[in-house]
Amino acid sequence: MAQTHDHGDHSHPAAPMVEEISEFEILEIAVRELAIEKGLFTAEDHRKFTEWAEQIGPAGGSRLVAKAWTDPAFKARVLSDGVAACREIGIDWAEPTGQGTPSDYMELRVLEDTPTLHHVIVCTLCSCYPRPLLGHSPYWYRSPNYRRRLVRWPRQVLTEFGLVLPPEVEIRVEDSNQKCRFMVLPMRPAGTESWSEEQLAEIVTRDCVIGVALPRPDRKSDDVRPVHKASRPVGGEHHEPGGSP
């Protein structure tokens, strides 16, 4: 008999989570299998490309921000023509050079934060994201939860990310629904005055250019993550925390 759990007046079997597949996913699989059958590429080629595409990080965005922080003339060019500014740091939106995946869309608008204005990006209709610059979007960026709640309750969602901004600061949500792609240019944090461009790039994490976090001098993208020890480890009733199992 299947395992059950109770809901007071009724109970039902615990069902496994069923993954639904969309029509676009079916289309992708069909085209991919046809291409493999026709010999255009092999399954191994496809796997290798997927592996490469999925590990691309937001390094392009970090470098763009760090250079804009240290070079006012470059910053002006970033704000007036994002795609052209990307070419200056070796990222071509038409022919991505290892920093991202190809994009049909060639409009990048970089949104500059100020002491009184904070930007955050979302795509309520799907998952539009400046991929040539930042690689793939994080999973939560594509989730219906983030997409529908950010436009309606931006301050509450930002609080869930640990970012609480005073009411005087205007929060501006940018809903990327057409062909423009957006990235946030956060403010350079205090305490980084003498830093090099390379040092600055290390604190511009992906979340900072989406707008759900602010750069901090003490937080780098490759930091060791905090680990909270289990207060009652499995089978550990008679063991002290941290003791040998």
Binding site: D104, Y105, R172, V173, N177, Q178
Partner: protein, 103 residues
């Protein structure tokens, strides 16, 4: 790579103009969010000319391209009872979906 469609697209609005988003019927496909329909906003930028998503979705490459704009809304105008005075939201809309909304 897409080729951007340009031409003598009608552009009725300039930066700073007050506009209202029309509530046109959805014919199969649209990228005009329901939550902005009927709401007043301000033109924040003119972006580019291109085909409407409604045409592009059906490969109507010979359709008339239009001017697109980034429109800025006050969150208080979008959502009943939104409690923060200064917060805003921007999104992008083509000319056809906008009408003048006074001064």
């Amino acid at each position: 790579m897409e080729s951007r469609k340009t031409g003598n697209a009608p552009a009725h609005f300039n930066v700073g103009d007050l506009v209202r988003v029309k509530d046109l019927p959805n014919l199969f496909y649209s990228r005009t969010q329901m939550y902005v329909r009927g709401v007043r906003g301000t033109i924040a930028a003119r972006t580019y000319e291109d085909l409407l998503p409604e045409d592009e979705a059906w490969n109507r490459d010979d359709a008339q391209p239009e001017q697109f704009y980034i429109v800025r809304f006050r969150q208080k105008d979008l959502w009943d009872g939104y409690p923060f005075e200064n917060d805003t939201l921007q999104t992008e809309l083509p000319d056809r979906w906008l009408e003048p909304a006074g001064h």
